[in-house]
């Protein structure tokens, strides 16, 4: 693949396939292709580049999850979809910050994507709770949980890392941690 071809915008189906195959290159091309469009939207509507980054990454995550879950259908252009999600997210953010003047300067056409943004939002709330619960859990429980459930490490590895004398001790510790994590998670309103 020569440089020119690499620099050109990837096709929509290329991107969808790339996400499904966990292609790092496709993710990168997707990201760099549409970031300028969103940066333009945000900085010309009372935002700065950091806010543009936040909003854009959120939209990429929405797209990524939708593709991964198999719900994504290429009924519209990816570009329009990303723009619409970012627009909706930004309007929401603006009104939360009381910066919304009732008008937004648009650069692209857009679709109604309220449902997806809502869904994404609900999931975000769950993740924030999980993050907070893990923080409250403290060490070594936090690392044990992450190693076992997120990084899929075996009990044997965990045993060695934390210097437990036998796997049973480690197991007991793990389930104690899990019980506490659940409690902390569900205690949050």
């Amino acid at each position: 693949m020569n440089r020119d071809l690499k620099a050109s915008a990837p096709t929509d189906s290329e991107i969808v396939l790339g996400i499904l195959n966990n292609s790092e290159i496709v993710l990168k091309r997707l990201y760099t292709t549409y970031f300028p469009m969103i940066l333009q939207l945000i900085i010309n509507n009372n935002g700065n580049e950091d806010e543009a980054k936040d909003i854009y990454q959120e939209a990429i995550i929405v797209l990524y999850n939708k593709v991964k879950s198999g719900e994504f259908e290429l009924s519209s252009k990816l570009k329009t979809y990303i723009y619409s999600v970012c627009r909706r997210l930004w309007l929401k953010r603006l009104s939360q910050m009381n910066r919304y003047g009732g008008d937004i300067r648009d650069f692209e056409e857009y679709l109604p994507v309220d449902d997806e943004v809502e869904k994404h939002n609900d999931r975000d709330i769950q993740f924030n709770k999980m993050e907070a619960a893990l923080q409250l859990l403290g060490e070594p429980c936090k690392t044990i949980m992450e190693d076992f459930y997120i990084h899929n490490r075996s009990m044997q590895e965990i045993c060695e890392r934390f210097g437990y004398t036998n796997a049973d001790n480690a197991k007991t510790q793990k389930y104690k941690c899990l019980q506490r994590l659940k409690k902390l998670f569900f205690q949050q309103k």
Partner: protein
């Protein structure tokens, strides 16, 4: 057989599930969900799930919770990947490129609009207050005074008594009874246009009037009606509509159509203080206040109450109507040129005239001495009283 033995232990565990510790259940669920169980273990566990709702809900809850932890982990990982990609983008130069740059006036306004607004308000306030304190804001030019007279109350009453006395004497002397009224709120001067009771005065004398009376040199008052006004020339035409009014006889002056020359001797006759006053002077400029062409500037001693009086030249031609004076220049007064009076008369709609308005063309004042002229003139000059 070791496999068989394990199975037996397992089923013993399952059977005693209610006595099992939470940790043990979780371990089973973990193994179940991770597919680490043997087919037989799995089948037995599924039977247990069906039988025991408590175990079933534990499985579902655990599955969801572990799923959430895993998704959370994936999310963190994805965010890190995106951050890594993001760090390779030159956001700053991209931003410069994509920012819509408003032109300099708009950006000046955006950055400094509060300062600009404050400065503008101060400037407007300063201008308005300057105008206010120097009197420029008033429509009435402070240095130009209309010569309408507002009469003081005490003076009124004194005069009223005089007039009443006069009237009593008169009514006892003459069978004809003339109306005696109070001197009115405003007073100006007017002069006859024709023998049948048409009188000219200033518009500012009679404006806002409820009723208008004119009083002749003999002290007789007649009710008059405003039949036409021309505010831009400051001229009003009245008509005496009073039964006691008798024909005046031919008006002794005529009306000059052309513009008079500078330096001409002029004079007026009017009722500035309620008394008849002769005012001699000369014509000093062909234009009036601030150069308006409507008026003459004259040097003549005039006072409040002279407004609407006739301005005549030596030969007895009526050349203007006394109008106002300039307070800042001693002796500068103004009179509306007679041409505008004639224009006003022409503009009167025919149906406003109940009698014909024929202007005198014969001048019987020419050649007479000034005192003789005045004697004739005073029968045609009226005090205008407004209520």
């Amino acid at each position: 057989m070791p496999a068989k033995a394990e199975e037996v232990i397992f089923s013993a565990k399952v059977k005693g599930v209610l006595k099992m510790s939470e940790n043990l259940i979780l371990e089973l669920v973990d193994r179940y969900l991770n597919g680490e169980m043997t087919a037989a273990e799995r089948a037995e566990f599924e039977i247990l799930r069906k039988k025991d709702a408590n175990v079933d809900s534990k499985v579902i809850e655990h599955k969801l919770f572990i799923g959430l932890i895993k998704q959370y982990g994936e999310r963190l990982e994805l965010e890190q990947r995106l951050d890594a990609i993001h760090s390779e983008i030159d956001v700053h130069s991209l931003k410069e490129e994509l920012m819509i740059h408003p032109n300099w006036i708009v950006s000046l306004w955006r950055h400094h609009h509060s300062k600009i607004s404050v400065a503008a308000s101060i400037a407007i306030f300063a201008i308005l207050s300057t105008l206010f304190f120097t009197g420029k804001l008033n429509n009435h030019d402070s240095s130009f005074v209309e010569l309408k007279q507002e009469i003081g109350k005490t003076k009124d009453q004194a005069k009223l008594l005089d007039r009443k006395l006069d009237g009593l004497i008169k009514s006892s002397n003459t069978p004809e009874k003339s109306k005696i009224t109070n001197p009115g709120n405003f007073r100006g001067t007017g002069f006859a246009l024709s023998s049948n009771g048409y009188i000219a005065t200033n518009y500012h004398v009679i404006k806002d009037a409820d009723s208008v009376y004119v009083q002749n040199a003999a002290g007789e008052s007649f009710h008059a009606k405003v039949i036409y006004t021309e505010p831009q020339y400051d001229i009003a035409i009245l008509q005496i509509n009073d039964d006691s009014f008798k024909d005046l006889g031919n008006v002794p002056y005529n009306f000059k159509k052309s513009v008079s020359d500078l330096g001409e001797n002029v004079y007026t006759f009017g009722y500035p203080g309620g008394e008849e006053v002769f005012g001699p002077g000369s014509l000093t400029a062909a234009t009036g206040y601030h150069g308006d062409t409507l008026n003459y500037q004259i040097s003549i001693p005039v006072d409040y109450g002279n407004s609407g009086g006739p301005l005549l030249d030596d030969k007895g031609n009526l050349i203007g109507v006394i109008r106002g004076l300039q307070t800042q220049v001693a002796g500068a007064a103004f009179a509306v040129k007679s041409a505008y009076l004639l224009k006003t008369i022409q503009n009167i709609p025919a149906d406003s005239l109940s009698k014909s308005l024929t202007l005198s063309t014969k001048n019987t004042l020419a050649g007479l001495s000034r005192p003789q002229q005045l004697k004739k003139l005073k029968n045609y000059v009226f005090m205008v009283k407004v209520y």
